[in-house]
């Protein structure tokens, strides 16, 4: 089987990441902003899980820089957190691919949590102390979002997205 089958074409990867970026640009406010999942992070981790040869540390770093700009933070804050998330997903990759969406999401929860904590830590060191626990809300919404995404894709493809080329 050719490694460039349709589920991992560049067009799809870049299209989905661009869509994630656009979703983040929506004028979120109030509690929707507090609950907004980190679409870029989910997109990057998804493609690292399924196409590790194409999306890796460099792409995650670039996406993180975009997220930094997006959130008005220090450049490098999201970038470092995303890179760490990519490392963890690569580390657990073969294991994660075995699971159905619900368990996959449950396994990703600690990864999202670590990414968010790293984000807070870097922001703290850069001079912005964290303020309240609502900062951790996106961890939950990221997990839910991952579950929904993985579930929908599995239904879409009949068997699931567990492509190991």
């Amino acid at each position: 089987m050719s490694p460039t089958h349709s589920s991992g074409s560049w067009r799809r990867i870049l299209g989905s990441l661009a869509l994630a970026l656009v979703l983040e640009q929506l004028p979120w406010s109030g509690w929707t902003l507090a609950l907004r999942p980190d679409f870029l992070l989910i997109g990057v981790l998804f493609w690292v899980l399924h196409q590790p040869a194409r999306i890796g540390f460099g792409a995650a770093f670039l996406a993180g820089l975009m997220a930094d700009f997006q959130n008005g933070g220090v450049f490098g804050q999201h970038a470092m957190a995303y890179v760490a998330g990519v490392y963890l997903v690569l580390f657990l990759r073969l294991r994660l691919l075995q699971f159905d969406p619900l368990r996959q999401a449950a396994q990703l929860f600690p990864i999202f949590l670590l990414v968010q904590l790293l984000l807070l830590l870097v922001g703290w060191l850069a001079g912005h102390p964290p303020i309240e626990l609502a900062v951790l809300l996106p961890v939950a919404s990221n997990t839910v979002m991952w579950f929904v995404l993985a579930g929908v894709l599995r239904l879409w493809h009949g068997k699931g997205m567990q492509d190991r080329a």
Binding site: P3, T4, V22, E24, Q25, L26, P27, W28, S29, G30, L33, R36, P52, A53, G56, F57, G58, A60, F61, G64, L65, M66, F69, Q70, N71, G72, G73, V74, F75, G76, Q77, A79, M80, V83, A84, V86, Y87, L90, F91, V122, G123, L125, A126, G127, H128, P129, P130, I131, E132, A134, V135, A165
Partner: protein
Amino acid sequence: MAASDQLMFARQLGATARLLIWLLVGVACVVADSRYHALDSLRSGLSLMLQPVREVLRVPADAAAELGGFFTRHRQLQTERDALRAERARLWVSVNAAREISRENAELRALLQLQQRPGQRVVHAALLYRGHDWFVQQMMLDQGAAAKLRSGLPVVDARGLVGQLSQVYPGSSEVTLVSNPEQLTPVVIERTGQRGLAAGNGRGQMELRYMPGHTDVRINDRLLTSGIDRVYPAGIPVARVTRVSHLQSGPYLRVAAVPLAGLDRARAVLVLLAEPPPVQAPLPPPSGAGKP
């Protein structure tokens, strides 16, 4: 062809090494940005690039608001109209009073030969985007350097002071809100005239800092800008005092206040374009030579 995902004969660095390299790059970015502000041009370029996207994405929300407004009930409109009429009548009374006062004030100023206040111009701006970072209390506006904005200008809405422009890009600008802990606003207590410094506490509220224990502050006192910093014009409402308590441990009062401006609801704001105060050049010695 591209079989590099067969990791058996991988000729690249291990994942841990690459993680460390990228983390180092990240640390370099953080330091370059927060210490030396070396990446501001990148920020401004990204802002220029994403500006059209943000404008387009605001359209659905605006359209929804428009549609919601269309279906507002007739009765509601009538009550609102009546309320507005009553308010207009009241406002006319105060406008007349204000005119009287400003005339009187002009005369007094002329008497005192005070420098006239610099003319105020305003630029209307709309909220483009609110950042997600809980650390930084700021928002983006849809007007920028093209509308002659520059960083440092005050931003107000209908109820009070919103903040100060901290970054200006060609087509957009960034406002640091008064609720930002690092944003200090010189204020005066409306009732007593006591001056003080208000700062954000980071949770959308403000506090009045360094108020000696015997200061006369009460709940519901309004705080106005004092104007002594030459940044904000005097008399813009900033906040209302909600809690006053004595600290056991320190000489200062703890005064909490809520910002009057709708920091998380305002969609349209005004940027006050004050002309920079003219620097008084020393008068040339009267030489008597006639000028052409």
